[in-house]
């Protein structure tokens, strides 16, 4: 009884709180929202890196995706049931949100006949932003090599080497089995090594 009272007074993490409360509605209690803010701020940089990877290093798109994912978490559209690590869950939400955004852009471009409104002058100079210029040479090589990999392999490698997740956790984020994740990991790593080597030779 005493321990129960003490447990109620101790500030619990967001994940633990969700486990305890088993919310039935889609809105979060204010205290849980505060906990969620803490969790998100803690994983914010990693989440941004993952959003960049999901958006092919398009910074603007990554920021939009990240904010949308956060909103999903807060307004209850994405609910964490506590069965996995919160970071894994967050990465999964970001990945799905990025996929939705990608599909939505394709649909919008199709429905709005974006091709008819295309500005030839703008097309003549592709918009690449400042990121490729400001990045280090090795990072540029890595991004160029990752761009040539299939999305699954690229994502597994990113989650394992960039986010320091295990292959099993990467599989959870991607929604694939451990075996599949391992295969993507091995093949992606071999392909990445080959690409980085080729790039090096070209560089030489």
């Amino acid at each position: 009884m005493t321990s129960g009272v003490l447990a109620m007074t101790v500030r619990v993490s967001y994940a633990d709180a969700v486990k305890v409360t088993h919310l039935q509605d889609r809105t979060l209690h204010p205290s849980l929202v505060a906990d969620l803010d803490d969790e998100l701020s803690r994983h914010h940089r990693a989440a941004f890196g993952w959003a960049l990877a999901c958006c092919r290093w398009d910074r603007t798109a990554a920021e939009d995706v990240l904010q949308t994912a956060y909103l999903k978490l807060v307004d209850g559209r994405a609910r964490f049931n506590g069965t996995a690590d919160f970071r894994t869950f967050l990465f999964g939400v970001i990945r799905r949100t990025a996929s939705e955004e990608r599909r939505r852009r394709v649909v919008r471009a199709t429905l709005s006949l974006a091709a008819l409104r295309r500005d030839p002058a703008a097309e003549a100079v592709p918009h690449i932003g400042l990121a490729p210029i400001t990045r280090a040479e090795t990072s540029r090589e890595l991004i160029a090599a990752l761009d040539q990999l299939p999305s699954r392999q690229r994502e597994v490698l990113h989650l394992v080497f960039y986010q320091d997740l295990t292959i099993a956790e990467a599989g959870q984020v991607l929604g694939v089995s451990l075996g599949s994740a391992r295969v993507h990991y091995e093949r992606g790593k071999a392909q990445l090594r080959r690409l980085l080597g080729e790039n090096g030779r070209h560089a030489e």
Binding site: V33, D37, L40, S41, H44, R45, A46, F48, G49, L52, R59, E63, Q67, Y70, L71, L73, V74, D75, A131, R135, A136, T138, S139, E141, L142, I143, L157, H158, F161, Y162, Q163, K189, L192, R193, L196
Partner: protein
């Protein structure tokens, strides 16, 4: 493992760079507070606010309208009371004035008796002045009584508020559906009714059925007797005649095997069908002699040209009522509700559609008997309004619209335009009238069903040929393969009206499917019926309305309409006469008689009106 570390190092450097460039963390809850304006609760609140505003506006309108009307009514009552009080005093003063005038008149009479004739002129002037004053008093009294009488036609001052548009619209929206009052053109006043003069000339011979008259420039008259299949040329007095085309087959002047209309063409020429050759028209000169054969432009209009509804414009183009093809599947087909009006150009060899006219939907029911005969029954709804057309001598095509009795004009070269509705004594059909009419039609149809369509208008019977002549009452016969030898399949066209006139009784046919009405009954009696328009040669259109109050003993009374679309006179024909044709200068040819005894042909002349179409 070493390689993995190398890759990991690269990723970590990339992570470090990304982390340094990561945007600051923004509390998503705050963003939600900004972006959640579209939450369902807010939308519901906005909707409720809108609904409340609309409700308040409606209540305010109704309330304001009602109170405004009520206060106006009270004000009107007060005003009427004041006027009535004033009027009472005025009436008394007027009565006093009348008495004074009467005394003055009596005094004038005494003066006249005393002074004799010397002052007669001045006395008459004084009496006229008294009469004028008396008339003024009477007018004032009448005005006063109209003002004070609440049931007077002018009504109270604020009676106009009872017909306020807003109030009417609200009542229509909230109480009951508004019944739109159709715009009904009143019977045009001031249109003279002209008696067509009695016939000045009467043909000695009788005719089976006159289907076309052409008066040529030398005064001779070509008369087409379609029933007897003769084309006769009369002199200008209609006394002597010669047969220029006869029903006797085998000669160069044979009329042909079918009765066909004579189409007056340009100048003294005429067109008539040549049924002995395939789809040719014969161009006749003023004496009925064939000038040449004319091939019709287009395909499949031969029957339409010779249907009796063909006109000619000033360029020699034929204006024809086109064909409407039945729709539906075999056994239950129907003709559409409109017929194209087509124009055939001999020079350009082209046929184009210039407009459409309305015709009742006609249903076709088919039944095949056990003996192999197939019977088709054509049934149309007699309660639907129809359009008619005619070609004026100036080349314009007048399309008389039956639903509202106005005319659409198609000039020879120009765009179509319409003219206002014509005056007609419209008869509104109440719901009871419609029910009664529908029951009447249904009763007639049931009678047809019971008798196996013995009185049906037209029936085609297809079956084995009987190798005998056409039966009594049949007006035509066609079919076969065209090959020599006995025909194996015949289509017989039977006109039961003719059969009934000849007293032929056919065996009843088996009842077919029940006939049904198509479309709603119009709110008003149709003003015209099919075949009720004809154009004279002076640029006017003659329309025979379906009903008229101007007929005394059953004479036909035509509305004569000029090229501006105005009825400028109504012409009452002599009793028992019908129009057979026209000639220039107001000449009208009339027929009278019946099928049994033949028809006579008469000629009269109508004095041209000043309001007629310009020549």
């Amino acid at each position: 493992m070493q390689n993995d570390n190398d890759v990991r190092d690269r990723f970590q450097r990339l992570a470090t760079e990304d982390a340094s460039a990561a945007p600051p963390f923004t509390n998503p809850a705050r963003v939600i507070r900004v972006t959640r304006w579209y939450a369902p609760r807010r939308l519901a609140f906005a909707g409720a606010s809108l609904a409340a505003a609309t409700l308040m506006l409606a209540v305010g309108l109704i309330w304001g309208t009602s109170t405004g009307y009520a206060s106006a009514r009270v004000q009107g009552e007060r005003e009427r009371s004041a006027i009535a009080a004033n009027a009472l005093g005025v009436t008394r003063q007027l009565a006093s004035l009348r008495r004074e005038l009467a005394r003055t008149r009596a005094g004038l009479a005494q003066l006249a008796a005393v002074q004799g004739s010397a002052a007669h002129t001045s006395l008459l002037a004084a009496e006229a002045e008294v009469d004028s004053m008396t008339a003024n008093v009477g007018r004032i009294e009448r005005n006063v009584s109209l003002t004070t009488n609440p049931t007077s036609p002018e009504g109270p001052v604020f009676a106009i508020l009872r017909t306020m548009p807003v109030r009417t619209a609200l009542a229509a929206l909230t109480c009951n559906p508004a019944v739109p009052a159709p715009h009904v053109a009143p019977l045009q006043k001031g249109i003279p009714v002209i008696e067509l003069p009695p016939a000045s000339t009467r043909a000695a011979a009788t005719f089976g059925a006159v289907l076309g008259i052409k008066q040529v420039s030398d005064g001779k008259v070509l008369v087409n007797d379609a029933r007897r299949r003769q084309l006769k040329l009369f002199d200008s007095t209609l006394t002597t005649s010669s047969v220029v085309r006869d029903s006797l087959p085998g000669s160069a002047t044979s009329y042909g095997r079918l009765g066909t209309p004579l189409i007056p063409y340009l100048g003294d020429s005429s067109l008539i069908a040549d049924w002995s050759t395939a789809q040719n028209m014969l161009l006749l000169d003023g004496h009925g002699q064939v000038v040449r054969a004319v091939d019709l432009p287009g395909v499949g209009i031969y029957g339409n040209v010779n249907s009796g509804y063909t006109g000619v414009d000033t360029k020699g183009r034929l204006i024809i009522r086109g064909r409407r093809d039945p729709r539906g599947h075999t056994g239950d087909m129907s003709y559409p509700d409109s017929v194209p009006i087509i124009r055939a150009d001999f020079d350009l060899r082209r046929v184009d559609t210039i407009s459409f006219i309305r015709r009742p939907v006609m249903r076709i029911t088919t039944e095949k008997s056990s003996d192999g005969h197939q019977t088709q029954l054509f049934a149309l709804d007699p309660l639907q309004s129809v359009d008619e057309f005619a070609v004026l001598s100036n080349g314009s095509v007048a399309l008389v619209r039956g639903h509202d009795y106005h005319i659409d004009w198609v000039p020879p070269d120009g765009a179509t335009f319409g003219t206002p509705k014509l005056a007609f004594d419209w008869k509104r059909r109440s719901d009871d009238d419609k029910t009664r009419l529908a029951d009447s039609v249904r009763g007639a149809q049931n009678a047809l069903l019971a008798t196996g369509y013995g009185q049906a208008e037209v029936a085609f019977t297809t079956g084995p040929c009987d190798q005998q002549g056409p039966p009594p009452g049949a007006t035509g016969r066609s079919g076969g393969t065209g090959e020599p030898g006995p025909r194996t399949n015949c289509t017989r066209f039977e006109n039961n009206i003719v059969a009934a006139a000849l007293g032929v009784q056919r065996s009843p046919r088996p009842p077919l499917a029940e006939l049904t009405r198509v479309g709603a009954i119009d709110d008003y009696d149709a003003p015209i019926r099919p075949g009720s328009t004809v154009a004279d040669l002076d640029g006017n259109l003659w329309v025979l309305p379906r009903t008229t109050t101007l007929s005394k003993k059953g004479e036909l009374v035509y509305d004569v309409i000029n090229a501006k679309g105005e009825i400028f006179e109504r012409v009452r024909l002599p009793l028992g006469r019908a129009i057979a044709g026209f000639a220039r200068g107001g000449v009208v040819y009339l027929t009278s008689g019946d099928m049994a005894n033949g028809f006579t042909l008469e000629r009269t002349r109508l004095t041209p009106s000043t309001n007629a179409s310009p020549k």
